[in-house]
């Protein structure tokens, strides 16, 4: 966001701050609502004090100043909320820009017709070809295409989308790079998934989260207590024949109630969702963000999250007496027809490491992997048959190998498996000639991220299709706490349910339709934007980048949200100590001179003391807006250390800072009165 944008936002937010003064809106925030009421009372007092004067009503000029300051306090609270909303809007607008009106080639009864994307309705079919911008969200019903989704995700590599597969959804605003597809519109204009989510982020439909409601209740209770405190002060003063001005009483009330957190509470909530959005995660509700901070268990797919891509071939190991060249050649020929990532990586390794490329002779017969033979390979025209597969199978097939060769290879195979690799044995004409080592490449820095999660108290679980031995090795290497090996979709579901039975909160990320039930079951389900519509509907967050490591950020954003709320609440309440010492002596200074001993700050006059406290109270709100928007930093230093730290900064700091602040303001104010 550039500077100019910020300018526009601020003036817009200022306007919003006035619109939000509407009492029917203010009442949702009980703390600030009472400040608004206090302002109205002071307004009446100010007007009355123009015509009649007594001790209780006070003098006009002073009343007017207090009234204006209280009004400023309300306004600043509203402003904080408005600025958070404005920032959310700016984020949302950027997203929306990608969804401007584009021509759509509507397909009705086989005929094409160009219409505006805005007129597309749910179920309409339209056609897209190379270089078309997809006009609306939908599912491909026919064809396959490569699509550039960089406008939404920022990821420049094109993705393949195909009808009938899990990868059949397209997002409006992305561009088709090749081929022709027919798409069925999945929602009415303005109701697309993204539209709904953007509206949520903008705050228009924002609902208070459970924790926010609980905190609001607590703050309302404090407000009520201080209302009782100030109202009853009048009869006490009367009993003692001590005079008291209404302006001072209202000021005392406003200073004591937790206006700082009251004014910033909703801004903090909105900013939490904004932060998620900034990380390209759309949260369907604030509750989901809040829950993310509580996550106990994190389910992560191995592939793409813990390891880079898929397993890769990393070494050829030849049997004694077999030339390396023969093994490489056989491996490459046997893998040519293998389109799996593993197969491709064998060819790649041969080219890179041994600088060898081979082509299959014409009329070779490719043998596909089948569940029966559990091998794949090639039969060459000269009668040579090459097979590769799991060691058990190849061992059985290689009847011509000597026992010593088999023993040698078996030893190698065990070694590879023990290191977490996957051995792939190669045999030519029923003679085992070597083993290809396939390995997972663990993402650099992933161990540190898991260590960080462990410090937060989050248990990480790796989900993989690997056998338990390999899974265990990789789990240990990456530093995850647990793993689900040979995982089927229902295994994830069962794991989540079991953890939840123990009262734990579980987060997971998924993309496929078969992930949808588990995504819905998880307390925080993050669907990848590249995933199916079903997965996105079931999840409570969508990651636009489709980056599985995002879960870690989600957890931190959730924690940050709660911490910010807690810290500012503590700060706000701790401030009361100093405000008491400023206002209470000032209230009674004239009638009970002894109480001047409580004026620890040595403020210049009772009027100045009260004004300074009220000014401090108002100014602290804008001073903390940056903190509310940015959030308190989360440090994974353990719960107790974190508590001590925040207590010291916001608790003790909250006690001390206002003493300094009020004194400083008093020095300035005393120049004027």
């Amino acid at each position: 966001m550039n500077n100019k944008n910020n300018q526009v936002n601020t003036s817009q937010a200022f306007k919003e701050a006035f619109i939000k003064l509407n009492p029917s809106y203010m009442i949702k925030n009980p703390v600030m609502f009472t400040v608004e009421l206090g302002t109205l009372i002071m307004l009446v007092v100010t007007i009355v004090s123009m015509v009649s004067q007594n001790d209780f009503l006070g003098n006009f000029g002073y009343n007017l100043t207090i009234t204006l300051l209280l009004f400023l306090t309300v306004l600043l609270g509203n402003f904080a909320e408005a600025i958070a909303e404005a920032r959310g809007k700016a984020q949302a607008d950027t997203l929306r820009k990608t969804r401007q009106d584009t021509p759509a080639r509507l397909l009705t009864n086989g005929k094409e017709e160009v219409v505006s994307s805005a007129s597309l309705k749910k179920g309409d079919l339209f056609v897209c070809e190379a270089n078309d911008i997809i006009p609306a969200d939908g599912e491909i019903v026919e064809g396959l295409a490569s699509i550039d989704e960089s406008a939404i995700t920022g990821e420049s590599a094109p993705v393949i989308r195909e009808a009938g597969s899990d990868q059949n959804t397209v997002i409006g605003g992305t561009r088709v790079l090749s081929d022709r597809i027919v798409i069925s519109v999945s929602s009415n204009p303005g109701e697309s998934f993204l539209d709904k989510m953007i509206a949520l982020v903008e705050g228009a439909n924002r609902q208070k989260t459970p924790n926010e409601i609980a905190l609001t209740i607590l703050l309302a209770a404090f407000t009520l207590v201080f209302l009782i405190v100030t109202v009853t002060l009048k009869p006490f003063a009367d009993f003692l024949n001590v005079s008291l001005s209404l302006a001072a009483l209202v000021s005392l009330f406003v200073c004591l109630i937790p206006t700082t957190i009251g004014g910033l509470l909703s801004a903090i909530g909105i900013a939490g969702m904004d932060r998620a959005l900034k990380a390209n995660i759309i949260a369907k509700s604030g509750k989901a963000v809040e829950t993310a901070g509580d996550i106990d268990v994190l389910l992560l797919d191995k592939t793409g999250t813990i390891t880079i891509g898929n397993r890769k071939a990393t070494a050829f190991i030849n049997a004694p007496g077999v030339p390396m060249e023969d093994l490489v050649k056989a491996s490459v020929l046997g893998s040519l027809a293998d389109t799996t990532p593993e197969g491709k990586s064998v060819v790649e390794l041969a080219r890179k490491k041994e600088n060898a490329t081979y082509e299959a002779p014409r009329s070779s017969r490719f043998i596909d992997f089948s569940a029966e033979t559990r091998m794949s390979g090639i039969d060459l025209p000269d009668g040579t048959s090459i097979r590769k597969g799991a060691w058990d199978t190849i061992k059985k097939w290689s009847v011509k190998s000597s026992t010593s060769d088999l023993d040698f290879l078996e030893e190698e195979v065990t070694k590879i498996a023990g290191k977490g690799g996957t051995p792939l044995a190669v045999s030519v004409n029923e003679l085992a000639i070597g083993v290809i080592q396939l390995e997972d490449i663990i993402k650099p820095g992933i161990q540190q991220r898991f260590a960080r999660l462990r410090k937060m108290g989050v248990k990480t679980v790796m989900v993989t299709g690997d056998n338990p031995l390999t899974a265990k090795f990789i789990a240990e290497l990456a530093g995850v706490d647990d793993f689900i090996a040979e995982a089927k979709p229902e295994d994830k579901m069962n794991y989540i349910k079991n953890e939840q039975k123990e009262g734990k909160l579980v987060a997971m990320m998924g993309d496929g339709t078969n992930d949808a039930p588990a995504l819905a079951q998880a307390d925080v389900g993050v669907a990848m934007n590249s995933g199916t519509q079903a997965a996105k509907e079931a999840a409570n967050m969508v990651d636009l980048d489709s980056d599985p490591t995002k879960l870690l950020e989600v957890v931190e954003i959730g924690k940050q949200l709660l911490i910010t709320r807690g810290n500012i609440t503590t700060f706000s309440i701790a401030n009361d100590v100093a405000k008491y010492f400023a206002i209470v002596p000032a209230l009674f200074a004239a009638s009970i001179p002894g109480l001047a001993a409580l004026d620890l700050m040595g403020l210049s006059s009772p009027e100045s003391a009260i004004l300074s406290a009220v000014i401090f109270n108002a100014l602290i709100i804008p001073a903390l807006i940056p903190l509310a928007l940015k959030g308190s930093k989360y440090r994974p230093i353990g719960a107790s250390a974190l508590l001590s730290r925040n207590l010291l900064i916001y608790g003790l700091g909250g006690v001390i800072l206002p003493f300094i602040g009020i004194k400083a303001i008093d020095l300035v104010v005393s120049l004027f009165i």
Partner: protein, 565 residues
């Protein structure tokens, strides 16, 4: 070190030392395990049979609260009728005391039912021995038992994994009386009798004084009443001057015994929490937090009394120690310890006149009652403390980035709502009550002269103390206030009722909703309660929530008086 101070330290440490095994024993009683008092079994069975109750049936919080309220309404009605119609019963009334004025009967019946034992009457000049024993002494047992039973229900609720049964209130009430209060009272009563506290049924006795004159001396069955008054944090004395009276508190030894008895069960219940729930460390943290405040308050009070009255110093007196209103048998330090003990635990018995303490010492007593959870009244003290813990856990939980939980149970809007209401209640009752009386006294001169004998700041403190003592169910008086009038009788009565039952029902409702929640396992990210940081949060919450609300009125009462010396 000064022997007076050593005595204070001895009493405090002895209380803590005795509270530990007592806590263990109480948990056995609550859980129905074998204890040496099992011989009470047949008596208890008889009570259950007469009452038609099934003691083994575990009830949920609502059913238990219904039982608690119904039983207590019964206690109240009986007490009121006995007092209002005292002249009708024919025996144990050697002095022939008559019926009580209805508002005084109402106030007193409420006062004893609610474990407050605010006394707008004087025992020796208004209550027959029958009334003393079968109304006052009886209620001091069952009201204390009610508190202990409620606390035991709370322990069970914290322990529940995800079930609503909290135990059986009636069973716990009976056993608290027969197995905890009764044996302890017998021990204390014997100590008192040996040291000279009377236990007889004779009327006023005429004795010859040292100066040779004659005097009518009241006696009666005082020892048992004094014993339960201390142990059950009741405070309702047999004689008007309470434990300043030489018959109630004959010597320094009985003073030690009674002061320990004041602190014993409230302290033991904190340990009992640890034994019951298996969170001993947490119990130690709780008792530590309470003790830090307690010791600090005792220290302030003692230093204020020992430094004494600055007016005395100005007059050139060699010993400025403030001994006004104190028993010379006990001295200033022991009086301060007792004062802090009795106000901290909602006991309300006195061994010195609180009215005559120096202003800040009196302020400390008020502060004790504002908090009302430093050990607190039997059972209810821990229940009040629990509300502070809920608020502290909520704020501390946020600060570490977890939605708050206590002992594995999530604290959500419902729990916070109830805790918030309970937190508002105490300042509301005290401040509005005092405000109404201040308003009346300020506008009607005749009322002011009837109630207030010390106008100005001290007068405000007296009214404030009376309402605080009522709301905290303490029962001690700042005296000096003309409080046996319909206004005070009725107002205090209402305040005592609300201040007693809402703070039991509210937290039990919280427990009811926590009990059925699933337990969240603790992880490295969970809030560690047994840490100095959480203790700091807890102390801050107690001081800020309970004390800050009263700062302005304290500034007008004790603090203004202090600075205006």
């Amino acid at each position: 070190m000064n022997t007076e101070i050593l005595g204070v330290i001895f009493i405090f440490l002895l209380s803590l030392l005795l509270a530990w095994p007592l806590g263990k024993y109480m948990v056995k009683v609550f859980k129905g395990e074998r204890v040496w008092t099992d011989f009470m079994g047949p008596l208890e069975k008889l009570i259950f049979k007469i009452a038609g109750a099934n003691p083994d049936q575990s009830l949920n919080w609502k059913e238990n609260m219904k039982a608690l309220i119904v039983i207590n309404i019964g206690f109240f009605i009986l007490a009121f009728l006995f007092l209002a119609l005292q002249s009708l019963h024919p025996f144990w009334n050697p002095n022939g005391f008559g019926n009580w004025e209805p508002t005084l009967a109402f106030n007193t019946a409420v006062s004893f039912t609610t474990n407050t034992n605010l006394q707008h009457y004087s025992g020796e000049s208004g209550a027959s021995y029958y009334t003393q024993l079968l109304v006052f002494c009886w209620l001091q047992f069952v009201s204390a038992g009610t508190g202990i039973a409620a606390c035991a229900l709370l322990f069970q609720g914290l322990k529940n994994k995800a079930s609503e049964g909290l135990g059986n209130f009636f069973n716990l009430l009976v056993k608290s009386c027969t197995r905890i209060l009764l044996p302890l009272s017998i021990i204390l009563a014997i100590i008192l009798m040996v040291n000279g506290t009377p236990t007889n049924f004779e009327g006023l006795q005429e004795v010859e004084t040292l100066e040779g004159g004659t005097q009518l001396v009241a006696a009666g069955p005082a020892a048992p009443m004094v014993a339960i008054k201390q142990l059950g944090t009741n405070g309702g004395g047999f004689f008007g001057p309470n434990s300043t009276h030489p018959f109630e508190n004959p010597n320094y030894l009985t003073n030690i015994a009674e002061n320990v008895a004041i602190l014993l069960i409230p302290m033991a219940l904190v340990f009992a929490f640890g034994f019951y729930t298996g969170r001993k460390k947490l119990a130690l943290l709780f008792i530590g937090v309470m003790s830090v405040l307690f010791v600090a308050f005792v220290a302030v009070s003692i230093s204020q009394e020992m430094n004494g009255n600055p007016e005395f110093t100005k007059l050139g007196l060699s010993d400025p120690t403030n001994l006004e209103g104190k028993e010379l048998r006990f001295g200033a330090a022991a009086s301060s310890l007792w004062g802090v003990s009795t106000t901290a635990t909602s006991n309300g018995s006195v061994n010195s006149m609180h009215d005559s303490h120096t202003p800040l010492s009196g302020g400390i007593f008020l502060l004790d009652m504002f908090i009302n959870a430093i050990y607190g009244g039997v059972g209810v003290g821990f229940i009040n403390f629990f509300v502070f813990v809920i608020v502290a856990v909520f704020i501390a939980g946020l600060m570490i980035g977890r939605t708050p939980e206590f002992m594995g149970k999530k604290i959500e809007a419902r729990e916070v709502k109830i805790a918030a209401l309970i937190i508002i209640l105490h300042p509301f009752l005290i401040l509005t009550g005092t405000a109404i009386s201040s308003y009346l006294a300020a506008t009607d001169q005749s009322l002011a002269s009837e109630w207030i004998h010390n106008p100005g700041y001290h007068g405000l403190s007296e009214m404030l103390y009376e309402f605080t003592s009522s709301s905290a169910n303490n029962g001690s008086g700042f005296e000096g206030l003309g409080d046996d009038t319909p206004f005070w009788n009725i107002m205090n009565g209402i305040v005592m009722l609300l201040g007693r039952f809402l703070p039991i029902i509210g937290p039990l409702a919280i427990i009811g909703s926590l009990a059925i929640k699933k337990r969240v396992p603790e992880s490295a990210g969970s809030l560690q309660l047994e840490t100095p940081a959480f203790a700091a949060v807890l102390i801050s919450v107690i001081l800020i929530v309970a004390a800050l609300a009263f700062f302005p009125v304290m500034a007008l009462g004790p603090i203004a008086e202090f600075f205006s010396f």
